[in-house]
C-alpha cells in the first residue's frame, strides 16, 4: 500500500546541497557531517528560486529540517534567499539520514573491503539488514518517514538527505526496496507531493 499525504496538503522536499563528502563519494550518515561546497551553497539558492515559483507566498509554509548540519545550513540559505529569517525553522529527527554506523565516512570500496560479509548480506536485503556498527536498515528509515508524513497538518517545505528522500519517494510510489535503492539523489531540485503523486521541479 503506497504512502499518501492527507488530502488538501502539499509537501515540498529537497536533499541538502552538495557536501565535501558527496564530492569524494563517501558514505555520509550521522557522524561524518561535512560542510557544503560552493556548488552546494548555490544549489540551496536554486532550491529557493524553485519554491518561490511554486508557492505564491513562501512565508505561509512550515519549514522543517533534518537536524544534521548540512541540512540545516541548506535550510538557512533557502530561507534567507526567500527573504525570511534564516533561523525560523523547526528540526525533526525523523528526517535525518539513514544511520550508516561503521561505514560512515568510508567509500563504497572501503566499506566492501573492510566488511565483506556485512556488505554482501546488506546488498541482498537493504530493507531488513542493518548497516553494521549500530546503523539502520531501510525499514527503520521508512517507519520514521511515514510517521513524519502522518503528522503533517500544514503545507510544508522539508530538507532531508539522499537515501532518506529516495526511500520517501519510493514509499509514495509504492516501490520495492530494490527500486528505492536504484533511484537518483539529485541536489538543487525540489520534489512536491499531493496525495501520493511526486512531482520533480528543476531550476529554470
Amino acid at each position: 500500500m503506497a504512502l499518501r499525504l492527507a488530502d488538501g496538503l502539499t509537501l515540498y522536499f529537497a536533499r541538502h546541497g552538495e557536501t565535501e563528502a558527496n564530492v569524494e563519494k563517501r558514505f555520509q550518515g550521522h557522524t561524518s557531517d561535512t560542510p557544503l561546497t560552493e556548488k552546494g551553497l548555490w544549489q540551496a539558492q536554486e532550491i529557493a528560486s524553485i519554491i518561490a515559483k511554486c508557492v505564491t507566498d513562501p512565508a505561509t509554509l512550515s519549514y522543517v529540517s533534518s537536524p544534521l548540519h548540512r541540512a540545516e545550513r541548506t535550510m538557512e540559505i533557502v530561507r534567507a534567499t526567500l527573504g525570511l529569517p534564516a533561523d525560523g525553522f523547526a528540526t525533526d529527527p525523523r528526517l535525518i539520514e539513514i544511520d550508516l554506523g561503521a561505514w560512515d565516512g568510508l567509500t563504497h570500496a572501503e566499506a566492501k573491503a573492510r566488511f565483506p560479509e556485512a556488505y554482501k548480506t546488506r546488498e541482498a536485503d537493504k530493507w531488513n539488514v542493518d548497516v553494521p556498527g549500530g546503523g539502520e536498515n531501510y525499514k527503520s528509515v521508512a517507519e520514521r518517514l511515514e510517521s513524519f508524513i502522518g503528522d503533517l497538518s500544514a503545507d510544508t517545505f522539508a530538507i532531508s538527505h539522499g537515501a532518506a528522500t529516495r526511500i520517501l519517494r519510493g514509499l509514495f510510489a509504492g516501490m520495492t526496496w530494490q527500486q528505492m535503492s536504484a533511484l537518483d539523489e539529485p541536489q538543487g531540485v525540489v520534489f512536491s507531493v499531493r496525495g501520493s503523486v511526486v512531482v520533480r521541479h528543476d531550476p529554470a
Binding site: 519517494r169 516501490m175 536504484a182 501520493s196 520533480r200
Partner: protein
Amino acid sequence: MPDFRAFTLYVVRHGECEHNAAGWAAGHDDSPLTERGRGHARANGRALAEMADLAALDFFASSLHRACCTMELLREAAGLPATGYHADRRLMEGDIGDHSRLPATDMLRYPNESPDMWEYVHPDGESVAQVHARVGRFLKTLKRDSVLVSHALTSSMIRAHYLNLSPEEALRYHMPNAGLLRLSMGTETLFGE
C-alpha cells in the same frame, strides 16, 4: 525483464484534433489534427530534443491516425526522420463505442448510470479498467527509455501504472493536448504548460 519503472517515459498526447476543437468525445472515431494540434506536436518534438538523448530512446505511438500523425510531426521537429517508430494498438484511446461524437462533457454523465467510473463499459466499447489492463501489458514490453504518443485516457493510465495510483487518483488527471509529461525515478514533471 527489467521493470518499466526503471526507465524514463516521455508521455505525449496527440495534438488537438478536429473532434477536440468541436468539443466532441472521440474514442476510436478519428479526425485530423487541426493546425493548432500540429503546432502542439512540433513544440513537443523541440522540447524532447532539448531534454533527452534521442538515440537512446524507443518511440511508440497509438495506432490511431491522430497519434501517428503527432508522432511524425514530433520526430521531424526533433530532427529525426518521420518514420522509425512503432505503432501499437494497446496504446489506442479507450473505445467509447456508441458514445463517440457526443459532447466530451457528457462522458462524465454515463458512469453515473452505473456509479463505478472505473468498471463502466461504454455500449459497444471498453471500460477504463480494460484500458488500464491493456496499457499495463504494453508497458511490460518496454526495453529502455521511451517516447509514448497516445491519448487522454491512455496517458492517464500510463501515469497510473508508473506512479502506482489508485483508480480514484488515476481518474483525477487530464492530459492536455499541449505539453510533455516526463515520468522518471518515481516522479512526474509536465513540460510546456
